[in-house]
Subunit: 316 residues, 2 copies
């Protein structure tokens, strides 16, 4: 037991990241049923869709699970009501000010976690009353911070500045990376990209295959002036790069981005024109497999590396 | 003993990075005398200056030490002759093709290590015959790769693709980061930024103080079209940013950069107009101290964290 497994009442300190278009109730339930914390990604769901996913998740697991909630979401108040109505055990908020909703959620006995990309906002989140922090480094897929602080740098800084538990995110897809994160001071890890390629993920098969094919240097953090996001290189990405070379304004970049790009790519499978959010760890993702098997592989390697340490393999 | 301490015949698996304007014979000798591998940074030295630094280093230590050699250096052939003449035990090459000089250096019994920022070039370096790899992540100070792969992602990939020993670099300034790097599969660590703030470093006091004051988000990788480099934000950095906003060409950027910027900043102490190369770990650097004390602090934390692991503190 550690601070995170005690807080969430879970067996294994693996949190599955709530990801738009990729993390439906099937994925969340699979992870929770296998002893981690499964998380439904509400960012791509209308209120009635989130309601349905929570109901279906509860129908197939009696283990704790969570909902990821980007606070800038237009239907946020409605989502909060749905979460409270269903007594969702854990809410992981991101992209917004944790001061606004934390107290209300906690009044209803919900555990609140906030995602940050800097120690500065980790401290602010602790002051806002959240129960734990997800600290996400530059290598992570999807939306990210402007400081570009990597997981290796960020985790050490955050754990030295807050007293609440810290979940490391960004660059973690293997057991050795999980152990490294815990050596740096994290209590648990949040894993996104690797679960995109889970059988239970709602990512389009084209996207899962694209993740598997992607290697070193195939993702880049872009759109820093609009909202920084790490994407796989494709036609749409090249269009953005050209726009940068032509000195486009943030407004012009937003126009190119348009609406629905993430759905088009990750959910509908348009590999040319879609927005394909994935982390640098795509390099290590080589196979689609059930979420439970992903967790088993990671934890087996975690335990094996820890045994190596015990046997003094790193003595000098 | 591990593969790196055996290869270099050193006691402690800490390599001090050879850094332009910051790593003279005094720093290299201090690190080598304390059981690590001290490295003279030849990148900022004329041939006669390198000759002097090697002679002075040998006069005060009988331990192995190294020279860091950027292969694009104009006087490279002359540097190679000097290194061979003095039988320098280890050469760490960077910024260039390891095929050209590796065989000649090895003929003279010199151990050759090459610095890479990608697994692709790690594999090429192994084929070129080098004895070990320094794999340096995005968070590192100074010159860096275009792929922006972070240390956490890079080390795992490199160790899975080469058979020679791997030294992790970028983001390592503490014992916990050193242990994390070894958990990821590295045999040793190369530490740069923290040794900039060593008493024996030739960095100007203004620069050492600037590093100490710098915190989260105060460095950025810039000049990606010319030669990517991580710098502390200052007037010169702002000038570059403005040039980017004005859509300047690589040629215009090179003109702004001009010549001698690194010397002006790091060696002569011009904090406004100088080029100030430092890693994201500047956040953790809070004090100027002797190189030996830096090493002791890092290794004490390394051992303490390893003990925690042995005591099952990360069990779940």
């Amino acid at each position: 037991m550690n601070r995170i497994t005690k807080l969430f009442l879970i067996e294994k300190p693996i949190i599955q990241a709530g990801m738009i278009w990729c993390s439906p109730w099937q994925l969340a339930a699979a992870v929770s049923n296998h002893g981690g914390l499964g998380v439904i990604g509400a960012g791509s769901m209308y209120p009635e869709v989130l309601d349905e996913h929570i109901r279906k998740c509860k129908a197939v697991t009696d283990k704790p699970f969570g909902v990821n909630l980007p606070l800038l979401y237009p239907d946020i108040a409605s989502h909060i009501d749905t979460i409270i109505k269903h007594k969702v055990p854990v809410v992981i908020t991101s992209a917004g000010n944790p001061k606004i909703w934390t107290a209300k959620l906690k009044e209803h006995g919900i555990i609140v976690v906030h995602v940050v990309s800097s120690a500065k906002f980790a401290v602010k989140s602790e002051l806002a009353g959240v129960d734990a922090i997800v600290a996400e480094g530059f290598e992570a897929g999807g939306h990210n911070g402007r400081e570009e602080t990597t997981t290796l740098t960020l985790i050490q800084d955050v754990v030295s500045k807050v007293n609440i538990p810290v979940i490391a995110a960004g660059g973690i897809a293997t057991g050795r990376a999980m152990l490294a994160a815990m050596v740096l001071g994290a209590d648990a890890v949040q894993i996104g990209s690797r679960f995109v390629a889970a059988e239970e993920s709602s990512a389009h098969d084209n996207f899962k295959n694209k993740v598997i094919e992607s290697g070193e240097g195939d993702t880049t953090l872009i759109l820093k002036e609009v909202t920084p996001v790490r994407l796989i290189h494709n036609e749409f990405f090249t269009e953005l790069q050209t726009a940068y070379q032509n000195n486009s304004s943030p407004e012009e970049l937003k126009e190119i981005l348009g609406k629905g790009r993430a759905k088009k790519g990750m959910f509908e499978g348009d590999m040319a024109q879609g927005e394909l959010e994935i982390g640098q760890v795509a390099t290590y993702i080589t196979e689609v497999m059930p979420a439970a098997k992903i967790m088993d592989e990671i934890l087996e390697e975690f335990v094996a590396r820890k045994e190596q340490l015990k046997n003094n393999n790193y003595d000098y």
